[in-house]
């Protein structure tokens, strides 16, 4: 399409259900009570000139351009700050208004550079537009007087420039930073003529700015402008698509000039983000065209051989023949595949179909194994569906928000902005996290309770919450009686003294009084919502904790309406989708067990192949079996298991032991060092399909450019299947979605056409819910009755010892994304050039460590080195790092411990020691301590 300019109604929509009718320039218009005159006029098709108003921000009334006349009222009120009243008669164009507006514009223009023809915003400048709209023909004041034209440009931010000489002090950027993003990094500094926008008196790069882009989007002039627009010019066409980073799944307008992507602009009608963005989605897309991209297939006989570029035909034929050789020699079950949460639903679906129908086994797993598999298990057991309960909008109705093991401002920043908005409105916040995350205390947000628990004690804490609820008479008995089962047994268990806050205090380190107060707050809030992340799931009791949270929500009646629920914040853009698509070895698409004869029969009928009724191998099982010699061939779709999975030595030993490793990815990565076939993949800008975000929202991913590799990933998989003797003759990804819909009841109403019509769809979408389901379990749970499951606390077997006296926990930061394959290839590297170890000053002091020192981090399975950052965010005894850089190899030290139910790794609890290093070490040194890794590294070719 041509460039998509969304209408701007000037002020936000009113949510009132009462209507009023007004007359604007003689045209009657009916709008909700509370609507501004400006918005009412825009609704009737009359655009009142404006500069400081935009419909993503509350009205401000500073520019004095939107003045109107209202019958019976004196003066010329600002239409943006004046609400409509029933029967009101408004005039937007009169000689008096014309003169006033021209006077205002004259003043603006007298202090504005007259470089429109060479300005980067030429053609997309509201000041330019308004000059035309008000009919400005002269500036009587001249340009010789005092002005701001010589103010220095700030180019410090890698993605946008700040040119204060073009600023009209409308405050849209300042308000966007506060209202939309919630960071409050910008302010109007000075008074009167000296007033100017400032990032706290610093450069943008040195300020608190998080580069979300909200200010750039709000700016009506070229004051805040994307560098890409400055360099390339204004885009001329738009493609609506979906971000490929976190599980928020923001909708974006990809704006192009010819075939060149100029910028990504958040889409106002995007259901997940409603016009907001973060630094990754907004700006960090340069990796898609990075010169490191591999664009041709490559093969090699042995991993010590150099790569050899080959044709697609040869790569696919080679892969198929070696897969069949392995199966001939070692059995049908000796090969398998891993799907990726960075790929579309359609791409994932064909990989699991390849495994089940062409490989003939159920050895398919997905990277959700190492993040949210406990969510799938826990919510299925208790609620009956492996998905979160709410849409993101729901947080606006929450009275108490409990954040457990998540760091939304870094991991899910666009949702965090929604959450912070609600907190500024007065909702209470409880944070349960060993680390003092930003949400605990940030501008205009402060947690009522921060329960700084000992890592590995989540279940003890959630049980103590429930103990308080049950023993203090805070149970929603009507909800429990009508909606749930198993309550009596569970209540008897949870009421036992061992679950009381007083008893668990010595285990969790959280004062009993704090737990009691937080539990009472949650139970009596009205609407209480739980949001959680990998700090819940990546534990030996990850699944138990998910069930514990579900128990708590059911006991207090906090399920099935707006503002409540149990909500996983998914790490990657398509974690939910990849799980939905049957990526787990025990489940077909739609979370239906492979042992279900009726379900299998339906798939077998369409696929024309029999499906094994027994589960296949999970990823960790594949590694164990590879080392044992029984699993010898692996197809890895878009996941760098050698960097992201725990106990690197074990993973690389497994990869080294295999006869064939096939990697489908954008870049050569750590895993590809052990690969025999490299099939180049496509970036999200090239993909055609759908992603499903953490709120079950299915969004279209539309191709912005043709595949740089010459072939879509789904087609590669289909061709591989064909080479293995199994046809998957799709001609377009819409046909894949049609098959998914035909076979999966929760997707029955989903199609590309429906998505184009509705914008997005939250599953379940079927005849009962033709436009989707924003909130689940409204009248009954998916499984019928919600099931209470007793959740005994069992301490992790990972304990501190004299040799390893500290606990390591891991996470990610705002500017980087998972293993960093994408974000390290963008200017985001400016914010995070290396992974660092956060350590409490006391723990550092006793080890003689100063801020910035190089330290060795060692566990019982390995050692690495990185730089120490002293921080009291961490409690004494706990250290923290990220895993965005392969050179650090954070997972060299994480262990084989995992969630008992799903084998999700226990990333969040590793006993370690930290010691000062005299000199920095390289990655090879860092892995010396691992016996298992040594032979693997000897055989690997370091590209």
């Amino acid at each position: 399409m041509t460039i998509l300019k969304e209408p701007d109604f000037g002020t936000p929509a009113s949510t009132s259900s009462t209507s009023v009718t007004v007359e604007v320039d003689g045209i009657p218009v009916t709008v909700p009570e509370g609507t501004s005159v400006m918005r009412a006029a825009a609704t009737s098709g009359i655009d009142i000139p404006k500069l400081c108003a935009t419909d993503s921000l509350e009205p401000f009334g500073s520019c004095r351009l939107c003045l109107v006349e209202i019958d019976g009222r004196r003066g010329t009120p600002a239409s943006c700050t004046t609400p409509v009243a029933d029967g009101m008669k408004v005039r937007t164009q009169t000689p008096r208004l014309e003169k006033l507006r021209q006077g205002v514009m004259e003043l603006y223009i007298s202090d504005h550079p007259l470089d429109c023809l060479t300005c980067s915003a030429n053609g997309d400048c509201e000041l330019q537009d308004m000059s035309g709209a008000v009919g400005l023909r002269q500036v009587r004041y001249g340009y010789e007087g005092e002005n701001h034209l010589s103010l220095e440009k700030d180019t410090s931010n890698p993605y946008f420039d700040f040119e204060p000489s073009k600023c009209i002090s409308c405050s849209r950027c300042v308000r966007a930073c506060g209202e939309t993003q919630g960071t409050f990094a910008l302010t109007i500094e000075g008074r009167g003529f000296e007033s100017k926008v400032s990032p706290g008196g610093l450069s943008f790069m040195d300020s608190e700015c998080v580069s979300c882009g909200a200010c750039v989007q709000a700016c009506p002039t070229a004051t805040l402008q994307e560098k890409s627009v400055v360099q390339l010019g204004m885009p001329s066409r738009t493609v609506l698509t979906t971000c490929a980073y976190c599980g928020v799944g923001c909708s974006f307008k990809a704006e192009l000039r010819g075939d060149e992507l100029v910028r990504m602009v958040p889409y106002k009608d995007g259901g997940a983000n409603e016009g907001h963005s973060c630094v990754k989605g907004r700006f960090a897309f340069g990796y898609a065209t990075h010169p490191d991209r591999v664009l041709s297939p490559m093969i090699r006989e042995k991993i010590t051989d150099p790569w050899r570029e080959v044709s697609w035909e040869e790569a696919i034929s080679y892969t198929a023949s070696r897969m069949r050789e392995i199966q001939a020699g070692h059995g049908v079950g000796s090969i398998g595949g891993i799907t990726s949460s960075r790929c579309t639903n359609e791409e994932v679906y064909v990989v699991q179909k390849l495994v089940r129908a062409a490989f003939g086994n159920n050895n398919v797993d997905t990277c959700a194994r190492v993040c949210h598999s406990p969510t799938g298990y826990g919510l299925k057991q208790t609620f009956g569906e492996s998905a979160g309960t709410q849409d993101f909008r729901s947080v606006a109705a929450a009275d108490v928000i409990v954040v457990i093991g998540a760091n939304p401002t870094d991991g899910h920043p666009v949702f965090a902005s929604r959450m912070k908005r609600r907190l500024r409105e007065g909702a209470k916040l409880v944070v349960i996290d060993p680390r003092r995350i930003d949400l605990v205390r940030s501008p205009h947000v402060e947690a009522t309770h921060h329960l700084q628990l000992q890592p590995g004690t989540n279940v003890a804490v959630v049980n103590a919450f429930a103990h308080v609820v049950v023993t203090e008479g805070l149970v929603d008995e009507a909800f429990v009686a009508s909606r749930c089962e198993g309550y009596e047994e569970w209540a008897a268990f949870i009421a036992q003294p061992e679950n009381s806050p007083e008893v668990v205090e010595s285990i969790t380190g959280v004062p009993a009084a704090e737990i009691r107060a937080a539990a009472r707050l949650y139970a009596t809030a009205g609407n209480a919502a739980i949001y959680y992340g990998l700090g819940v799931t990546e534990h030996s009791q990850g699944s138990t904790m998910v069930m514990g949270m579900a128990n708590l929500a059911m006991a207090t009646g906090n399920v099935g309406r707006d503002g409540v629920g149990v909500n996983p914040l998914r790490g990657q853009n398509n974690v939910q989708g990849s799980c939905d698509m049957g990526s787990f070895p025990h489940e077909l698409p739609g979370y239906r067990h492979v042992s279900d004869d009726a379900v299998r029969t339906v798939f077998e009928g369409v696929w024309g192949r029999s499906i094994l009724p027994t589960p296949g191998l999970r990823i960790p099982n594949m590694f164990d079996s590879a080392i044992a010699g029984t699993f010898r061939g692996l197809f890895v779709q878009g996941e760098d298991i050698a960097q992201s999975d725990p106990n690197t030595a074990h993973v690389t030993a497994a990869l080294t032991a295999m006869d064939l490793v096939v990697v489908q990815d954008l870049f050569l990565n750590e895993t590809s060092k052990f690969a025999h076939v490299f099939l180049p993949g496509t970036s999200f800008l090239e993909k055609d399909g759908t992603f499903t975000n953490a709120e079950r929202r299915i969004n279209r991913v539309r191709p912005v450019m043709a595949p740089k590799t010459g072939k879509h990933e789904w087609r590669i998989v289909c061709e591989l299947a064909a080479a293995l003797g199994y046809d998957m003759p799709y001609t377009h990804p819409r046909e894949i979605m049609d098959e998914i819909a035909a076979l999966t009841p929760t997707f029955a109403g989903v199609s590309f056409a429906a998505l184009d019509r509705l914008g997005s769809i939250q599953w379940p979408c079927n005849e009962n819910a033709p436009t989707g389901t924003p909130t689940m379990h409204v009248d009954s749970f998916v499984r019928g009755k919600g099931k209470f499951v007793p959740t005994s606390f069992v301490p992790t077997s990972e304990r501190t010892t004299r040799k390893f006296p500290l606990i390591l926990t891991t996470g990610r930061i705002l500017s980087q994304y998972n293993v960093g394959a994408q974000t390290r290839r963008t200017a985001n590297i400016a914010w995070h050039p290396e992974d660092v170890l956060e350590i409490h000053p006391h723990d550092a002091d006793v080890r003689g460590i100063s801020d910035g020192d190089s330290v060795t981090l060692a566990s019982r399975v390995g050692a690495t080195s990185l730089r120490a950052v002293l921080s009291d965010r961490m409690p004494v005894g706990v250290v923290y790092t990220t895993f965005h850089h392969p050179v650090t190899g954070a997972n060299v030290v994480t262990t084989e411990n995992s969630d008992w139910a799903t084998n999700c790794p226990e990333y969040k609890v590793t006993a370690v020691q930290v010691a000062l290093r005299a000199q920095p070490v390289d990655a090879a040194d860092a892995t010396e301590a691992t016996d298992e890794l040594a032979p693997a590294r000897e055989r690997a070719v370091i590209d």
């Binding site: 025990h586 027994t614 589960p615 999970r618 005994s792 008992w900």
Partner: protein
């Protein structure tokens, strides 16, 4: 548990720890059910092999579960 513990034994023992609060028979049945729903049959066979050849390596409840698991 040592690094040389067979994976299926380690995993079964980890599951068993979660069911220690239940009566042994109930726990064994629940563990067996879990293993049947989520483990590849080869892993079940391997567990049963260890249950026969090295029963001392298994938690008693895991051992009881291994005997209930269909391969």
């Amino acid at each position: 548990m040592s690094a040389t513990t067979p994976p299926t034994v380690r995993l079964a023992n980890e599951i068993a720890r979660q069911f220690h609060h239940q009566p042994p028979d109930t726990a064994a049945a629940a563990i067996a059910n879990h293993i049947e729903r989520f483990w590849d049959p080869r892993m079940r066979t391997d567990l049963q092999h260890h249950a026969t050849t090295a029963p001392e390596s298994l938690d008693p409840v895991a051992l009881a579960a291994a005997k209930l698991v269909g391969s």
